[in-house]
């Protein structure tokens, strides 16, 4: 089977939820919808405190090209526009909506059976207006990614159904339960890019999804499924391209430089919703899982729902729960409390117990070379850490610290429990700050 060089095999942890059907979370009483949920420029609020809004109504307008609007995920009254704790940014402004008596949707939602005949620009416009950002977790505005400059010839589109993060099963369940929407969305993506070839990458631990997607594409032209061996971080964009196409994205470059483009299966489904029915992105699938959750589930939740409400619906936390992570255990972000909202990039809520929550103290590096062996970017994590510890950031840059994709494989494998990727992350931040200062 095809794969990429490097990588690790962490405990998969998918059995908590892989067999559980996606359930719909009952409408929460309050949602907090951050103005910024994507990479790029923020958004400008269009609503005021006290105003009534319908579900799907635009709450804030994109500011600039690399930005997407945000929409009301429930109908109700604007409780305020306040500074709240943000699961990624730490703090951020959000629109708070108190649920009204009944659920009311905006009337802009319409089914467009001839959606595939739409001009490409109209498709992109609908995607942007729906507020789409990559649902795999990186949350880069989708319409921007689907607008490569004319000098970049893209010949193949990849669909990412790898879901290599341990514990997460949201993409897996979506592939099982709604393959039609995913493939229709992928067709739209291929149409926008003008490519004839589309490949869906799925890891071999999701055999059922492979079968269902294969069946779904049996009558589609130019689509194929590639089964990949289980290895983290295969779902990282550059690693997926390497695994499927054996092409390497140039250091510092983008996939379009080598004629490829990757979208996540969840994003493809949202693309279909946006183009076919003009439905904005107001909900997403979240895997609520881990040894710290009483009843792990895959849930469809409105954007802006507080973690607390979701966890309550899953039976609450176990006695020994100790760490709450937004995302997976390898790249997810630890949350100090449950008063944070689900955002567009929230693929999971993972709760670890006391035993798994603590990281051991750093021991001396014994030069075993495992971090070097597993690094998918072919870096020297242990050397980079040493340079960062001594604040020799320029030298670290010469050793390609900026090429680190922060997958965490080095820290995971290190027998000395060294905080390798954590140090590298710090080094990258320092270099970016220096660049900013230098203008």
């Amino acid at each position: 089977m095809r794969t990429f060089p490097g990588g690790v095999h962490p405990f998969e942890g998918k059995s908590y939820t892989e067999k559980k059907k996606i359930e719909i979370l009952p409408r929460p009483k309050l949602v907090s919808i951050p103005l910024q949920q994507h990479i790029g420029a923020s958004t400008k609020p269009l609503v005021e405190k006290g105003q009534e809004v319908k579900a799907g109504e635009k709450l804030a307008e994109a500011e600039g090209y690399v930005s997407v609007p945000v929409h009301a995920s429930i109908s109700g009254k604007i409780k305020g526009i306040e500074e709240i704790d943000h699961p990624v940014a730490g703090r951020g402004t959000a629109v708070l909506i108190e649920a009204g008596e009944t659920e009311e949707w905006v009337d802009t939602i319409k089914l467009d059976e001839k959606y595939l005949d739409l001009p490409v620009d109209e498709m992109r416009e609908r995607i942007k207006e729906a507020g789409l950002a990559g649902l795999g977790g990186a949350t880069f505005p989708t319409h921007v990614k689907l607008s490569p400059p004319s000098d970049k010839k893209i010949d193949v589109a990849l669909l990412n159904g790898v879901e290599c993060e341990p514990y997460l099963t949201a993409d897996h369940r979506l592939m099982l339960e709604n393959p039609k929407a995913i493939i229709k969305g992928f067709r739209i993506i291929m149409k926008i890019l003008g490519v004839q070839r589309g490949i869906i990458g799925i890891e071999s631990n999701k055999k059922d999804a492979v079968e269902i997607i294969k069946k779904q594409i049996s009558e589609e032209n130019g689509m194929e499924v590639v089964v990949l061996p289980v290895k983290y971080p295969q779902g990282a964009e550059k690693q997926l391209i390497k695994a499927i196409l054996n092409r390497e994205v140039p250091s510092g470059g983008l996939p379009m430089d080598i004629g490829a483009l990757v979208q996540n299966v969840g994003t493809a489904k949202a693309v279909y919703d946006a183009v076919y029915s003009c439905k904005p992105l107001t909900e997403r699938i979240v895997t609520v899982t881990g040894p710290g959750i009483k009843n792990p589930k895959n849930l469809l939740v409105p954007i802006g729902t507080h973690f607390q409400d979701i966890i309550d619906f899953c039976g609450g936390l176990t006695e020994n729960s100790a760490k709450v992570i937004m995302g997976g255990p390898m790249m997810g972000i630890a949350q100090p409390h449950l008063n944070v909202p689900v955002i567009k990039g929230t693929s999971g809520i993972l709760v670890l117990d006391e035993k798994r929550a603590h990281l051991a103290a750093e021991q001396p590096c014994i030069n075993c070379g495992r971090c070097v062996f597993v690094c998918p970017s072919h870096l020297l994590p242990t050397s980079l850490q040493r340079l960062v510890y001594h604040e020799r950031f320029e030298e670290a840059e010469q050793f390609h610290i900026m090429d680190c994709i922060e997958c965490g494989s080095c820290s995971y494998i290190c027998p000395a429990n060294r905080y390798l990727v954590q140090s590298i992350r710090h080094g990258k931040r320092q270099l970016l700050l220096q660049r900013k200062k230098a203008g």
Binding site: E248, P329, A334, R356, I366, D403, Y412, V421
Partner: protein
């Protein structure tokens, strides 16, 4: 939302999970892997072999504990790395060594070679090998003069030849054969016979029924131990295989007294401390290159130096000096084997 949160959960930077392997697990794996060879040493050389090993281990662990205590560092003798140093040092001593020798060697290995350079992970040389070099330079007679014959065998591993270890025999014989005019005809004849009979010692060399340092003689026991290390990923093939392979090729090309390509490479692989050195000492993670390409270069370098010392050098055996010299070259090797970053090749 604005209410004060009731409970704060643990926060840390990702990744939030770790592989289960740890430094103590790696080190104790190596210690367990050394046990078969220790048992064989006990069988062939008697309880003295065990006493020397025990003394070396005790001295190493106590030295490390005292230094950590004095330096007010957290005590980390339990990680098993000082135990490895003790066992490996004793494995590099003759069974006839006086009791203070493993003690002095271990103190030197831990205090000077390891802790003075910063402790675990920071030593430039393999502590056990550097200590052996120190002992050899300081007490050459005790280190090399009197080899204990193994139970039910001879020092040379060949019937009737009792004077020298296998490599010593090879060295002396080669010297006689290449300069026959300086020796009696009977001596030349004996040397030729010895060379011709080398293959009769293969079985003895394999099981360790020959003279030599405590832990180096039993090739079989050392290889069985290495399987444990391979299984537990404590070593990779890169260093030991390239090291042994290079010794085979080079000793075959240059090791014969009848010209190129006549050397007895099987004898070179089986005798001396090559297997101990290649699988247990050259593979010391701290003092070997970090990347696989560097490890291959390191292994080849060790092999070339070992054969060079064995054939043209002053000593019959060259494993320990070869590894020490290559230890010194590790920073250089690491510098020139930096992997090209993902996506770099096509960018140029």
């Amino acid at each position: 939302m604005t209410d004060a949160p009731q409970k704060l959960y643990i926060s840390s930077s990702s990744p939030h999970i770790r592989d289960k392997d740890s430094i103590p697990k790696i080190m104790w794996t190596v210690n367990i892997a050394l046990l078969p060879a220790l048992l064989m040493a006990y069988y062939f050389f008697g309880p003295k072999a065990l006493w020397i090993t025990l003394l070396a281990v005790l001295a190493a662990v106590v030295t490390e504990a005292v230094i950590h205590k004095l330096a007010k560092k957290p005590l980390r003798i339990q990680d098993g790395s000082a135990v490895i140093t003790g066992i490996l040092l004793s494995f590099n001593l003759p069974a006839s060594a006086p009791w203070w020798m493993p003690v002095v060697g271990s103190v030197f290995a831990i205090a000077i070679v390891k802790e003075l350079f910063g402790g675990l992970g920071n030593n430039i040389l393999n502590p056990a090998l550097a200590a052996r070099a120190f002992l050899l330079a300081s007490w050459p007679v005790e280190m090399t003069a009197s080899w204990v014959a193994p139970r039910e065998g001879t020092v040379s591993g060949i019937n009737g030849i009792t004077s020298a270890t296998p490599l010593n025999l090879l060295k002396q014989s080669a010297k006689i054969i290449t300069n026959p005019e300086n020796f009696e005809p009977s001596q030349v004849q004996a040397a030729q016979n010895a060379i011709a009979n080398l293959s009769s010692s293969y079985t003895n060399l394999l099981i360790g029924n020959v003279g030599g340092c405590i832990g180096e003689t039993s090739v079989i026991a050392l290889l069985i131990g290495s399987l444990i290390m391979f299984y537990r990923h404590a070593i990779s093939w890169h260093i030991p295989f390239t090291y042994v392979g290079t010794v085979a090729v080079f000793s075959w090309i240059f090791g014969g007294s009848e010209g190129f390509f006549t050397g007895n490479w099987i004898f070179h692989i089986l005798s001396g401390g090559l297997i101990l050195g290649a699988f247990y000492m050259a593979t010391d993670m701290v003092s070997s290159p970090v990347g696989h390409r560097g490890q291959v270069i390191f292994g080849i370098g060790c092999g070339i130096l070992t054969v060079t010392i064995r054939i043209w050098g002053g000593y019959p055996e060259g494993v320990s000096y070869a590894i020490i010299l290559m230890n010194l070259a590790v920073p250089l090797i690491d510098r020139y084997t930096v992997p090209s970053v993902f996506g770099e090749v096509k960018n140029k």
